[in-house]
């Protein structure tokens, strides 16, 4: 428990080790076609004599399979679709892993589970586009500290998935908070921290078993104080040093991309040498990996936009962006989303201008707004965080409806991950990632009751016996059993 009474040392330690809050990371995995090389039989990675590996061939493919599911009909619920107005007294049918029907008159298939949604709310599964679950696992021991490869300011060569511990006990708690999809990022110690991975919040023996099939990778970049502090003695030690570091990396990546693109086109001679760092950066330049940029200050975000323009890549989302409200017009202009907190700030110089209306002001300016967590506790309560941010807007005269605010934790992060066609809204044909709430998710008193992923019931508060417990929890974590059973 983190009371202030035991906090000061932790905070100092943060400064040194760049934990989640001080350090951040970038986004998500991919599998779809990247370079043309992957489609060329002559260059297929196969191993063995005479073969050679190729860049970006999805060497750690997802093995995720949806869990067994029964058709499920939730009747007479209040449905926040994140795609339009809230539907009252409406039914929703989950079938074959998809949302099969939404309406006031939906018939239950013969074998369907039928649930009464009276006085309950239904939302899409919550999506957190900024998580460090699995890379900063609980307990937060040095043995579990795998989120920052803080040995070099540019580590585009590391992939977050290679740090993810599927037995992190934070995963089931996240699921219980309604979170169905996570982007796990490297930390923010580095200018370029490495690849993120998009995970489904499901039990699995391997990270491959959690990987969201077909999701793109992300690249974590970080501005400002964290890299500067971590590399104070070897550089970069200033913000101008940071910028020189990004540009140098992109200049090298450009040359690498040209060499490989040429070879992929003509296959003349031996292929160029592979370089893990530049492979990832080149994929960003080709548009196959999204940039997720940890950046607090408005002026730095504007500079990062210029750098992106110089090298011809797009920034998918600024993360933390406590000053996003100051440049919300620029974000709207360039279709860059802002992944922000509701009310964190003050913990370092670049965070002092945090305001509670940040999300609402960004939304009001027409930019895509996301409430993210960067925190295993906040991630479980993104509905509460969104509620605080929504009402803070109303306090300054910016009315954000619940129908809009629900998108901050569903449809908009889905877009940031490039998964907007598959998750993030309740529309027929979308993946059946669904949360049933005891009441309005923007009330402090509401709790998740059930959570489905691809139509499979993955969390049921009324059934503690079937609760997902990680290997770590067995024996280590004492079980709280309440009278009546449910928790």
């Amino acid at each position: 428990m983190r009371t202030h009474l035991v906090l000061s040392f932790a905070l100092i330690a943060l400064g040194a080790t760049a934990c989640a809050r001080q350090a951040q990371s970038a986004p998500a995995p991919q599998t779809p076609a990247q370079t043309t090389a992957t489609q060329t039989p002559a260059t297929r990675a196969s191993g063995g004599p005479g073969a050679f590996s190729v860049p970006n061939a999805d060497p750690f493919p997802s093995t995720y399979q949806p869990f067994p599911a029964r058709a499920t009909l939730i009747r007479n619920a209040t449905i926040m679709t994140a795609a339009g107005p809230t539907l009252r007294g409406t039914s929703i049918l989950l079938q074959n892993g998809k949302i099969a029907a939404i309406g006031t008159n939906v018939a239950a298939p013969a074998d369907a589970v039928v649930l009464d949604g009276t006085n309950k709310f239904v939302t899409p599964g919550i999506i957190d586009d900024h998580s460090h679950l699995g890379v900063y696992s609980a307990p937060g021991t040095s043995g579990n500290s795998d989120g920052n490869e803080a040995t070099n300011p540019v580590t585009a060569y590391v992939w977050a998935e290679h740090s993810v511990w599927p037995q992190d006990p934070q995963f089931p708690r996240n699921l219980a908070g309604g979170v169905t999809t996570l982007q796990v990022l490297p930390g923010s110690a580095n200018l370029i921290g490495g690849r993120s991975v998009v995970l489904k919040v499901v039990p699995a023996r391997t990270v491959q078993g959690m990987k969201f099939p077909g999701a793109k990778y992300g690249l974590k970049m970080a501005c400002g104080e964290n890299p500067k502090r971590v590399y104070e003695n070897r550089g970069p030690s200033t913000r101008m040093g940071n910028v020189a570091g990004y540009r140098t990396a992109w200049i090298n990546a450009e040359a690498y991309r040209r060499r490989w693109d040429k070879w992929n086109a003509d296959h003349q001679g031996d292929p160029p040498s592979r370089d893990l760092n530049n492979e990832t950066l080149a994929e960003v330049l080709r548009g196959n990996i999204y940039v997720h940029n940890h950046c607090y200050r408005a002026d730095e975000m504007a500079q990062m936009i210029d750098i992106a323009n110089e090298f011809g890549y797009k920034i998918r989302s600024f993360h933390h962006g406590v000053e996003a409200y100051k440049i919300a017009d620029l974000l709207a202009r360039d279709s860059i989303s802002a992944s922000v907190w509701a009310d964190w700030g003050a913990f370092k110089m670049e965070a002092i201008d945090a305001v509670k209306a940040n999300a609402a002001l960004v939304h009001h300016a027409g930019a895509r707004t996301i409430i993210h967590s960067d925190d295993p506790s906040g991630s479980q309560r993104l509905n509460q965080e969104a509620a605080k941010a929504m009402y803070a807007g109303r306090d300054v005269g910016v009315t954000v409806t619940e129908d809009e605010a629900i998108k901050w934790i569903t449809a908009n992060p889905a877009w940031a991950l490039g998964l907007q066609d598959r998750i993030g809204t309740l529309e027929v044909g979308k993946n059946a990632d669904v949360v049933l709430w005891s009441g309005d998710p923007f009330s402090v008193y509401s709790r998740t009751e059930k959570v489905w992923i691809d139509g499979a019931l993955m969390f049921d508060r009324s059934d503690p016996a079937e609760r997902w417990r990680t290997d770590f929890e067995l024996g280590f974590v004492p079980e709280l059993r309440l009278p009546g059973g449910s928790r």
């Binding site: 428990m1 983190r2 009371t3 202030h4 009474l5 035991v6 906090l7 000061s8 040392f9 932790a10 905070l11 943060l14 400064g15 609980a138 307990p139 937060g140 006990p169 708690r173 104080e225 409200y325 100051k326 919300a328 017009d329 009310d343 964190w344 700030g345 003050a346 913990f347 370092k348 110089m349 965070a351 002092i352 201008d353 305001v355 209306a357 002001l361 300016a365 925190d375 295993p376 506790s377 509460q384 509620a387 929504m390 009402y391 300054v396 005269g397 923007f442 009330s443 402090v444 008193y445 509401s446 709790r447 770590f472 929890e473 280590f476 974590v477 004492p478 709280l480 309440l482 928790r487």
Partner: protein
């Protein structure tokens, strides 16, 4: 020379400066007095910084400022009992961190943290504007971190703001790895040694002044500061999370007749009966359920409710964040209370856990924590259920005065409400 006694400071601070001269009548609201049933359509009269009258049929004095609270909720100001407000402004900037003393061998009992308090901190207004009127400011770090104080979030100097100082001595057995000793048992030995030496010093001050005693484990000022603790007059707040650490604290408190309070108490539910039997209050939150260390493996959001059910006095504090939870987000106490309700505590008990219970545990229950004639007029008018995100603290009175100063954040929001901003326009 007579040793300096810090007790004199406490005496000086014991009476709050009365600042509110205006008479205020809050009418029509549902009034939670905390000492009886809620009063519908109640009236609360504030005069000279005190609550003058509370009731359903109270006449509004002529000339009183009227606040129409029809349809609204009136409560005592919330008390956040574990903060670093005014001690830490910007966590990573050492220049603004004054919560941890260097001490001597991880003991800093003499550290009077409030003397370094910053009344100009820009983080007081965000807390006050959201209904926090009174806070405990506590030191941290070391086996004995120092002495905490209670302050009202009024304007003025620390002398004006102090309600009670010291209010408690802060100890930490939850973090032995960072507190000097390298094992739990060693930390407890150090704590016992300090308690023993305080007793010896207290009995033999004259010998001590003649250098006729053995060496003690702490400095003169530290021993002096510990005397009210070993005499059971000043509570010892012990930060402890693991059940066995809580039990160790209970053991030591029993052996030395200490007035113990547990802070953190993540695994308190495992030893709830023992805490209740020993009448030891617990400061804890309701938003922590992660086994984030090996001391907090049994963390559950239901902890607060389970402790309460067992008969423990529960004081709700923030524990969902890290550094900023104690400065920028001192205001989120209401979210903690709402979550406590969602996880099993009754709504009334949650409200008590941020008002009258902390007031009593902190020894200021005669003046704070309820709406009764004669009490200090710390009062909040909420637009609705105080724990709900949709509710706002519409009027916040501290010692009878509504301060209502815009926070720095309010100014920034105004400035950037339309883009680009006009930097020459006064906010």
């Amino acid at each position: 020379m007579r040793p300096l006694t810090l007790g004199s400071i406490a005496l000086l601070c014991a009476t709050p400066l009365i600042v509110g001269a205006q008479t205020v009548a809050i009418t029509g609201g549902r009034v939670y007095t905390m000492t009886g049933a809620p009063i519908d359509n109640g009236t609360v009269i504030l005069r000279d910084g005190r609550v003058a009258e509370v009731g359903a049929n109270v006449a509004v004095p002529a000339g009183a400022q009227r606040i129409d609270a029809t349809g609204k909720i009136v409560t005592p100001g919330f008390i956040n009992s574990a903060t670093e407000l005014g001690l830490v402004d910007i966590g990573l900037e050492r220049d603004t961190r004054d919560q941890s003393a260097r001490g001597k061998d991880n003991i800093a009992a003499a550290f009077t943290v409030w003397e370094g308090f910053n009344p100009a901190s820009v983080y007081l207004a965000p807390a006050r504007n959201e209904g926090i009127t009174t806070v405990v400011i506590a030191p941290s770090g070391g086996i004995i971190a120092g002495q905490a104080a209670v302050v009202d979030l009024v304007k003025g100097s620390i002398s004006d703001m102090l309600v009670r100082a010291p209010v408690a001595m802060i100890a930490d057995v939850a973090d032995h790895q960072n507190n000097g000793p390298s094992a739990r048992g060693e930390l407890l030995v150090r704590l016992r040694e300090l308690l023993e030496d305080t007793r010896a010093y207290s009995r033999r001050k004259a010998d001590y002044e003649r250098a006729a005693t053995r060496d003690f484990a702490a400095s003169r000022l530290d021993l002096e500061a510990m005397i009210p603790v070993v005499e059971g007059r000043e509570p010892l707040v012990v930060a402890a999370d693991r059940a066995s650490d809580i039990e160790a604290a209970l053991r030591i408190a029993r052996e030395y007749n200490l007035k113990l309070i547990i802070a953190g108490g993540a695994e308190g539910w495992l030893v709830a009966d023992k805490l209740a039997a020993a009448h030891v209050p617990v400061f804890t939150g309701a938003m922590s359920n992660i086994p984030s260390s090996f001391s907090t493996l049994g963390s559950y959001q239901e902890n607060a409710a389970q402790l309460k059910r067992a008969g423990v006095d529960v004081v709700l504090i923030g524990d969902a964040g890290t550094g900023d939870a104690e400065t920028f987000n001192v205001r989120n106490l209401k979210q903690e209370a709402g979550n406590a309700v969602a996880y099993g505590m009754s709504w009334d008990d949650a409200l008590r856990a941020v008002t009258i219970v902390p007031a009593r545990v902190l020894g200021i229950g005669d003046r704070y924590g309820s709406l009764e004639a004669g009490k200090v007029a710390n009062v909040v008018v909420w637009s609705g259920d105080p724990f709900e995100f949709s509710s706002r603290a519409e009027h916040v009175f501290v010692r009878g005065t509504e301060i209502g100063t815009p926070s720095r954040q309010d100014m920034l929001e105004q400035r950037y409400r339309t883009l680009p901003p006009d930097y020459r326009k006064p906010q």
